[in-house]
Amino acid sequence: MKVIEVNNLKKSYGSKNVLKGINFQAREGEVIGVIGKNGAGKSTFLEILMTIKQYDAGNVVILEEDIQSLSINKLEQVRKHISVVLQPTQFYANLKVEELLKLFKAYYNSPMDVKKIMADFKLEPHRKKYFDKLSGGWKQIVSLAIAFLSEPRLLILDEPTTGLDPHMRDLLWTYITNYNKKTGGTVILTTHNMDEIELYCDKVLLLNNGVNEVFDTTEGILKDGYKSIHEFYISKVSI
């Protein structure tokens, strides 16, 4: 089943055309990496999928709803099925971890038990800590725990592992892949780490000069003769 269908998506900021006609599809259970150099439009593309950015032309259908034509109420219904992890991750600085989880549980009207989520994500020792006082890695883990509270059908991650040490990076990916296997949810992420794309993503979308230059399976790209996704990226994208 298609979770996302994007056709001829265009977006500009003033005279700068950032997205010049993107075509994209995501199916249930897929993990898709969106790559491209800084300023290629990755974040703009993800923000449109998050339903928080308007676009100029094209069609974006998420969970069978054309988001451009939706009322605010309908949009909130769609958002119940979408969760995100942003970079940098920020929540209310003056709330403790447990309080944040409880607040977002209320936002998503989630039946999940906050204690269980804290146990799953090994957050017990941090539950009384203010979000602002956590290290970057733990902030990302809390953000992911909040994202999973809603049992989302679509998880969007904007550079989730940027700035994390290898242990934290592994831990974060363990949670993401477990979620994907357990729930069949779709994951879309951006990253500059091509090893992560190769290791964890089913498909790759390469944004270059405002268009989707390549949208293929990771396997398919490697079958084309590239030794790695890193080599593929370097050969396709100039500085």
């Binding site: 909130e76 920020q90 209310y92």
Partner: protein, 247 residues
């Protein structure tokens, strides 16, 4: 959902020392301190210190709470990315806005009661139920107008540091030209001129009149009402424009 959001909004306010100092501690302490210095002085309209400065300091608390805990808070959330993260969540904008407004009304009402109690205990403020209810109603109207103005003013800021500097500077200007430090007619001419452009000066003058049952409709009060209304209307237009630009 509204009650949950409100509970957490109040909890966050109580944990922010910066807001507490400037909103709940400094104005009452200044009210007491000034009362010790000028408690016996008589002011315009043959009013005592308590009759003049009790409503003034209630308004000052209202201003600081709304500008710091509502306006500046919006900039903090916008610049740190909290606003974006919340916008992606399925919580309605109306719930967030209502919670913010109710939080401001609750905190400023606590300020209202705090100053009133200090006034009764230390400066023999007289307690007339009808005037008190009228004053509280007018105070709520001022609350609403200040919420609109502060939202519009802070919508221009995309940087926390500049918003903080602005907040501290504007607090000084408002205190000096709003009639909160000493009567405007005792100030230099240029301050008196600036005061005429300060909506807080007009709000203060009207609130003192309402508090003491002296509100009459003459050229001066009509001008004050007109200026405040025009300022609020302009703020609404700015808010509409900024929201459109954001989308």
């Amino acid at each position: 959902m509204l009650l949950t959001q409100l509970r957490y909004d109040l909890l966050m306010f109580s944990r922010e020392l910066f807001y507490l100092v400037f909103t709940v501690f400094v104005p009452p302490i200044t009210y007491i301190f000034m009362g010790q210095l000028f408690g016996d002085t008589m002011y315009a309209g043959n009013l005592s210190y308590a009759q003049t400065y009790t409503p003034s300091f209630i308004l000052l608390i209202t201003f600081t709470v709304i500008f710091f805990a509502f306006g500046f808070d919006q900039v903090t959330h916008r610049t740190t990315g909290v606003e974006k993260r919340i916008r992606i969540s399925p919580v309605s904008k109306t719930t967030l806005l209502l919670s913010s407004i109710i939080r401001s009304v609750i905190i400023t009402s606590i300020g209202f009661i705090l100053i009133l109690v200090i006034g009764i205990a230390m400066y023999n403020v007289e307690f007339h139920i009808i005037e008190l209810i009228t004053s509280y109603g007018f105070f709520i109207v001022l609350n609403a107008l200040l919420l609109i103005i502060s939202s519009a003013v802070y919508s221009f800021f995309n940087n926390m540091k500049s918003a903080l500097v602005f907040s501290i500077v504007i607090l000084q200007i408002v205190i000096l030209t709003g009639g909160f430090a000493m009567p405007i007619n005792l100030m230099p001419t240029f301050i008196q001129t600036i005061a005429n452009f300060n909506p807080l000066y007009h709000m203060n003058t009207l609130f003192i009149a309402v508090w003491n049952g002296q509100l009459t409709f003459n050229n001066s009060t009509v001008l004050s009402f007109g200026y405040i209304s025009a300022f609020a209307l302009l703020s609404l237009i700015v808010l509409g424009f900024m929201n459109k630009r954001k989308n």
